[in-house]
Amino acid sequence: MEALTKVYRDQPKTVLFTAAAAIRILAVLLFPALPDILTLRAELSTPVNSFKRLQEGLFLYERGLDPYDGGIFHQAPLLLPLFALLPSPSLWLGRLVSILLYTGLDLLTADCLYHIAESGVAHTSRLYTSPRKDRAWTSLSVAAVHLLNPFTIMTCLARPTSVFTTLFTILGISHACQARATTAAFAVAIASHTSLHPVMLLPPIGLLCYDRMCAQSADESNTSKPNGAVPGSMNNKVAVDLRLQPKPLRFGLQFAATFLGAEAFLFGLSRLILPSWRFIPSIYMTLLELPDLTPNAGLWWYFFIEMFDAFRSFFLGVFWLHMLSYSVPFCLRFQKQPLAAVVLMMGIIAVFEPYANAGDAGAWLSCLCLLGHLFEPTLLYSTLLGPAFHHLWLYAGSGNANFFYAITLVWSLALLILLTDTVYAALRDEWEAERPEGKGKEIRQM
């Protein structure tokens, strides 16, 4: 027992990761039917990330046909060679192996979150330090929230391919926190290749990367610093040579160019393993034109089932523009807290994306804990419980499309309330940095 406690104290991260992996594997061993049941749930599997559809595409791919021929497979082609190596999930062994793969992905994601939290970017940036810095959550708690989040566990068991998108998005954020612009752009490119939404995260992640690069170059010019303070912190009060800092425009263009180059490379690679270019319209046109209106946890399908044909393309454009239009303003407003910009944009995407699902929302909730220093405790618990409670409703009642959509609306509402409260908290944090006397008082927007 004492040895166990010792291990826990010394290697908390290993213990956490092992526990998380154990939960998932035990779930699959004790409830063998559970993964297949979850794969069929509409809240977890959507037409663009369903594991069943991946199997369909895999079947065609393994026989040398175009996997996009069937018209129901809309996922990234580079996943096909990966999954072709695994045994078929209809066997017990195949199911276990796929769960192991997804457990590995979850652990990698948690590792990235751990590093993001470690880097302290959440509360400290080149221009700003949060007054609530000491309330920041420990890296371990952040990783724990992600691994033990019921949404994440269920997503792991349901095995949708959006987990890859989440992993590469968070990997991109993590590399941006370490000011590695090229790898960050590459990771975001891979994430956008599997699904279109992470493109909208490019400005906030670019901003974050730039911020860290400036901080790093400022830090390098102050190598005489003896203490191990977080680089770029305002506490140094040392003059920073602005000429040595990277220029924003040049950095922006480089970042975008790396992103586009990586995308082109991925397209070329995909084309090599497929007989035609059909995968491009199949993946991206599905998101832009919404031909598949299978009910999911998102807001779009209900609108477009009843939409007049004449207005359909107009409203598709409106919905996409609406989601896109938040990207730049978030970057502008949260220049001083770039991670907040990234996380809030992720939230917007999780709520407003065409094929929303519980997995993306769960990943966002985990990322939200990176900004844990912003929350008042009561706010956090009530809002976390809300979606959990609604989640039970989702299982209990799906009698009518209207019922389902009503529950979906409440779910989105809960997420949006959480989002706006986070925005408020982030802004309040900045305001309190300027006006320390206002701490704890009621405020009103003018």
Partner: protein
């Protein structure tokens, strides 16, 4: 949710202090903002507006504008009003006069054209006389689509002044006896053939804008019985169609006979007729046999008449005789109309079965087909071989009379004119002209209706396929009119002929008018667009507009202050 995200620009003020102050002291004004926050807020509002204006507005214009291809509306209106073409029918007549001197031929030709040209009622046909070039027999094949060849047998046994004429059945040739040598007599004979045709054409044109006004006045003088007979013919004929499906059915009340030698009968009686009519339409033939076919419960059924020893079927029952519910008669097989010919063999206990008043066993159902009752065992039918095996199959001889009747019914259902009764070729040619005219008229009216529709409903989209179909239709209707005037009625290798062009024009115009994608937005008034846009764009737009207005006002004020200050 939306308003708070874009407008948060550090506009937070300390409102708590107001409660603590003593009344009478004014509320503290919020501290002035740093320039940086002001700039950030302005940039954020501007970025939202840029996306709306530069991406949203073009997108709206691009996706909601209706595409209207341009149509030649004036040409279509001309056709609908009958102004685009002066409908006349060429009727070239070739004159064959074996044994005559050249001058006499020329003189006869001149007199004849003068007489026929001053034709009274009608005048739709343009007669042109072509005197035969050579005298030799047999007749060389016709050139220039001759409508009628007149052969004068004046050199026949002299002295016999026979005032006779007869038509050659399979060709359009009129043989005139030796007594007919004068232009007047010849003109009368020709008129006898052509006047019914002119009346029929005039009937088709009556009431349409194509009818010449002087003709309308003459219409009143036409005898009423021709009008009624033309009406009756119109009521019973099928719509002109490129394909007809002929369906021959044998319905047997009990279980015998169970087969019929229909293929031989068809080959003998129907196939030659179908071949002759092939210039008008295509025909497909199907046959079927149905046993234990019972009467429909809605009719009274036959009653036994003691006097004649026959079972009588009342006239009122005739319309319900065909038991559409239980007898498998398909209403249509693909494109084209179906003409059903039903042969009914009554049960032995109901034989012989006849129609009550007339005692006949055959009747025609207008625009549907014909019904015949075959009484096998009754006293009225001649004795046929009564071997047991013969009762199960209807032999070709049994079917003789019936098939003749069906062939005759087919001609009247197609609309073949009954005169001139001697020559099938002339009747078919007459029907060709009538059909071409009817199709031309229907095309013109469809085009007119389409142009009125396009004009009246400015918000329906007009796809390119409609424009293409209209262009095709106009081209073909023009060719059809020219062909009618030139006398090219039937299809040759080089062109479609009047009927072919008229059919093509009619199909194209129907395709254009009934284009399904045009109808989508017909019942979409502009007020409904408000109901579509406002629920989503209203709440999205209000904070954008308010923020934009607020920022512009403050910018304007600050510029004014700066201008005042300097």
């Amino acid at each position: 949710m939306d308003p708070t995200l874009g407008d948060d620009g550090g506009d937070l003020s300390d409102a708590d202090g107001a409660g603590l102050r003593a009344p009478g002291i004014a509320k503290p004004t919020p501290p002035t903002e740093a320039l940086r926050t002001l700039l950030t807020r302005r940039t954020i509002v501007l970025s939202f507006w840029i996306i709306v204006l530069c991406l949203g507005l073009p997108h709206w214009l691009w996706t909601t504008s209706t595409y209207r291809a341009s149509l030649p509306l004036s040409t279509m209106n001309d056709w609908a009003e009958g102004k685009a073409c002066d409908l006349r029918f060429a009727y070239p007549i070739r004159l064959r006069t074996p044994g005559w001197a050249r001058e006499r031929i020329v003189e006869l030709g001149g007199n004849l054209s003068a007489l026929l040209g001053h034709d009274g009622p009608g005048g739709l046909l343009d007669f042109t006389i072509h005197p035969g070039d050579s005298d030799e027999e047999p007749l060389p094949p016709p050139r220039e689509n001759v409508a009628l060849t007149v052969v004068l047998h004046a050199a026949d046994p002299p002295g016999t002044h026979e005032v006779t004429s007869h038509l050659e059945p399979g060709e359009s040739i009129l043989h005139l006896g030796s007594g007919i040598t004068e232009a007047g007599q010849i003109a009368d004979q020709i008129r006898e053939i052509t006047v019914p045709q002119q009346e029929a054409l005039a009937y088709v044109l009556s009431g349409t804008p194509f009818a010449a006004t002087e003709y309308e006045a003459l219409r009143a003088t036409r005898q009423t019985w021709t009008e009624t007979s033309l009406d009756a013919r119109n009521n019973r004929t099928f719509k002109p169609s490129t394909t007809y499906h002929l369906s021959f059915s044998l319905f047997v009340a009990r279980n015998e006979p169970s087969a019929w030698a229909i293929e031989d009968a068809l080959a003998a009686y129907v196939a030659p007729l179908v071949d002759a009519l092939s210039s008008l339409s295509n025909f497909t033939i199907t046959t079927q046999v149905q046993l234990h076919a019972s009467f429909s419960p809605s009719i009274a059924g036959p009653t036994f008449d003691e006097a004649s020893g026959e079972w009588k079927l009342r006239r009122e029952d005739l319309s319900g005789f065909v038991n559409a519910a239980e007898w498998p008669l398909s209403p249509s097989i693909g494109e084209g109309s179906t003409i059903n010919f039903v042969l009914y063999v009554p049960a032995a206990e109901y034989s012989p079965l006849v129609v009550a008043d007339t005692g006949g066993t055959v009747w025609l159902v207008p625009q549907w087909g014909g019904v015949a009752i075959l009484n096998l065992d009754g006293p009225s039918t001649p004795l046929k071989a009564t071997k047991a095996t013969d009762r199960t199959t209807l032999s070709a001889t049994d079917l003789d009379e019936v098939m003749l009747t069906f062939a005759d019914q087919l001609t009247s259902l197609i609309g073949l004119p009954s005169t001139p009764s001697g020559s099938l070729a002339l009747r078919i040619a007459a029907l060709q002209r009538e059909r071409a005219t009817a199709l031309l008229l229907s095309t013109a009216s469809t085009l007119g209706a389409l142009s009125r529709l396009v004009h009246k409903l400015p918000n329906i989209p007009i796809p390119d396929t409609v424009a293409t179909s209209v262009a095709t239709s106009l081209r073909h209707i023009d060719l059809a009119c020219q062909d009618l005037r030139a006398g090219r009625y039937s299809k040759t290798d080089s062109n479609l002929g009047a009927l072919g062009n008229a059919q093509a024009a009619s199909e194209a115009s129907e395709k254009a008018f009934f284009e399904p994608s045009m109808v989508g937005q017909v019942y979409f008034p502009d007020e409904h667009k408000v109901a579509v846009y406002v629920p989503l764009l209203g709440p999205m737009g209000v904070p954008l507009v308010l923020a934009g207005v607020k920022e512009s006002l403050s910018l304007y004020r600050s510029i004014r202050q700066k201008v005042k200050g300097t």
